[in-house]
Amino acid sequence: MSLLELTAYEAGEKLKSREISSKELTGAYLDRIEQIDGTIRAYLKVLPEKAMEMAEAADKKLASGENITPLTGIPIALKDLICTKGITTTCGSAMLAGFVPPYNATVYENLESAGAVLLGKTNMDEFAMGSSTENSAFFPTTNPWDTTRVPGGSSGGSAAVIAAKEALLSLGSDTGGSIRQPAAFCGITGLKPTYGSVSRYGLIAFASSLDQIGPMARDAKDTALIFDIISGHDPKDSTSVSYEKPVYGEIVKNPQIKGLKIGYPVNFFGEGLDPGINECLQNAKATLESLGAEFVEVELSTIGYALPAYYIIAPSEASSNLARYDGSRYGLRVEGCSDIVEMYKKSRRKGFGKEVIRRIMTGTYALSSGYYDAYYLKAQKVRTLIKQDFEKAFEKCDVIFTPTTPAPAFKIGEKTDDPISMYLSDIYTVSVNLAGLPGISAPCGFPDNLPAGMQLIGKAFDEATLLKTAAAYQTVTDFHKKMPK
C-alpha cells in the first residue's frame, strides 16, 4: 500500500508504532506535489526544506514518545490567509504579494506544537472573495476530478490538495461557504465550525462577524483529529468562546446515530437543485435512515433572503476591514504620488482585483450616508429572522440535512463574467454563517462523474453531532474513499 493511500488517522497509528517515519511520509507528499501540482496548481508556495526539518523533529518526538498527538508527523497545508511567521502570506492578492507576517496565527501555533508538518500555503480567491479560486491574483487552481473545472472557492487550493493527495489535512476559512462548497466540488469532507469555536487570531480578515477557520480532510474521522487541535478559547481573539470541549477524535471512533433526529427542509430540495445531486441526497437520506436516524420536516422559510443579506453584510464588513490596505505600512504601494490620497487610490486600484473592488464598493455604498438603515441595518434584522428560523427548526431536530451546492463543479471561466451567478453557488451555505452555526459537507455521490456534497448543519458548539453523523455515514458508504486518477 502506498503511503499516500493512508488517511491521517491510519498514518498517525503507523507513525506511533514507528512502522513508518514522518520523513518517509512527508517525502512521499513532496514527491507527489512535484509530480502533480504543475497541473492542479493548488499551492502558492511549497516549503520542501522546512517540511523535512519539521518531519525530522516529529520523528525525534515519536522516537522519544513524549508530547505525541494524533497529528505528530502528519503533513498539512494552510490556506494562504493564515499567517505564518517568516513565510509569505499573500491572501491570494497582489496587494500582499511580498507580505511576510511577523507572527503566527494561533491555529498554526497549535498545529506546530502538536507536531504537524507544514508542506505549504494554498491558493485561494483574493481576500477569500469568490467561489472558484479564479479570483486568485496569481493563477487559477483546477479541480482534480476534471481539470477543465474549478475546485470551488474560496478555499479551492485547500480542497484540491486533499483530493489530489498533495496533503493529508488542510485548513481553509469559511465566510459564506468557502470551506463547504470547495469540499463538495472536490469530493472531500470540510467543516465550518461554530463562530467563536476556533481562534481567528492571525486570520487575514474578510468579514469579521462571519469568518471562521476550519478543517478539510479525506473523511470525518480525520476532520475530527485536526479539529481537536485547532478548536478552543484563545485570549488573543476576543470573539473566541470558552466552551466545554469533547475529544472529537473519540466521538468519531464508533459512531452511532440511532434515534438521531434529522431535520429535512423541504424547500431546499425544490427548484434550482441539480436532479443528479438531488438523487444522491435522497440516497444519503435513505442511508442515514437505515442507520437508525429519523427524518422530520422543518421549515427554513427565510433561506431566499440569506444570500441578499449576506451580500450586504459581508461587503460592508470587508469595506471596513480592507481599508488598512492603503500602501502605508505594508503591502503594495504605487510610488511617485504627489500626495497621500493619490497614493491610497492608486495603490488600492493596482493592488486589488476586480471582485475585491466590487465588494469594497458595494459595502461602501451600503454603509454610505442615507443608505445605512435601508441596507446594513435591514440586513442585520433579516439575519435575526434567519437565526430564529434555525432556532425553531432545532426544537424539532438535532441536525439539519441539505445539499451543499445546487450543482456540481462548473467549468473554468463559466461564471467569471456574471458575479451574481457566481454568488448563487453559495445559496445553501451562507445562512449557516449568518446564524453563526457549524456545518459540515461530506461527499455523497458522483452524478456525471463529479462529486456531490451533502451538508449537515448543527446547533451552536455541537460539532460533535455533525462529526459523528458524517462518520457514521462514512462507515457504510465509500464515496469519501474515491480519489481522482
Binding site: Y195, R349, T362, Y365, Q380, K381, G436
Partner: protein
C-alpha cells in the same frame, strides 16, 4: 430568478463611491462598475420584501459581550520586525507622501 434591470447606479455615483473607497477608477471602469453594482444592488434590494417591524438586528452571533483583561504591560513586537514589510521607511518610522499643503 433574476430579472434584467436597468442599472440603479450612474457613473457619477460610482465615481463618488470609488472616492469614498479611496480607489482610483478610469472612465471605462465607471461604466463597467455602474452596470455590475446596479445588478448587485438590484439583487440585494430583494430584502425590502421582508417585514422587519419590531425585529432587533443581530450584529454578532457568539454569546460574548465585553471581554476585559488586566491592563498590565507586556512585550510587543520589535519595531524593526513591524517595519520589515514597510514600502518605505526612515529612522524607525514609516515614510509617507505629503499629507497637508502644497
Amino acid at each position: 430568478m433574476l430579472k434584467e434591470s436597468t442599472p440603479d447606479i450612474t457613473p457619477e455615483e460610482v465615481e463618488h463611491i470609488a472616492h469614498l473607497s479611496r480607489i482610483e477608477i478610469s472612465e471605462e471602469d465607471k461604466i463597467q462598475f455602474a452596470g455590475e453594482l446596479g445588478r448587485i444592488i438590484h439583487y440585494i434590494n430583494k430584502l425590502s420584501e421582508v417585514d422587519t417591524t419590531g425585529v432587533d438586528p443581530t450584529f454578532r452571533t457568539a454569546p460574548i459581550f465585553n471581554v476585559f483583561r488586566e491592563d498590565t504591560p507586556r512585550e510587543s513586537f520589535p519595531a524593526e520586525e513591524i517595519l520589515a514589510n514597510a514600502p518605505e521607511k526612515e529612522e524607525g518610522c514609516f515614510r509617507m507622501p505629503r499629507i497637508i499643503g502644497g
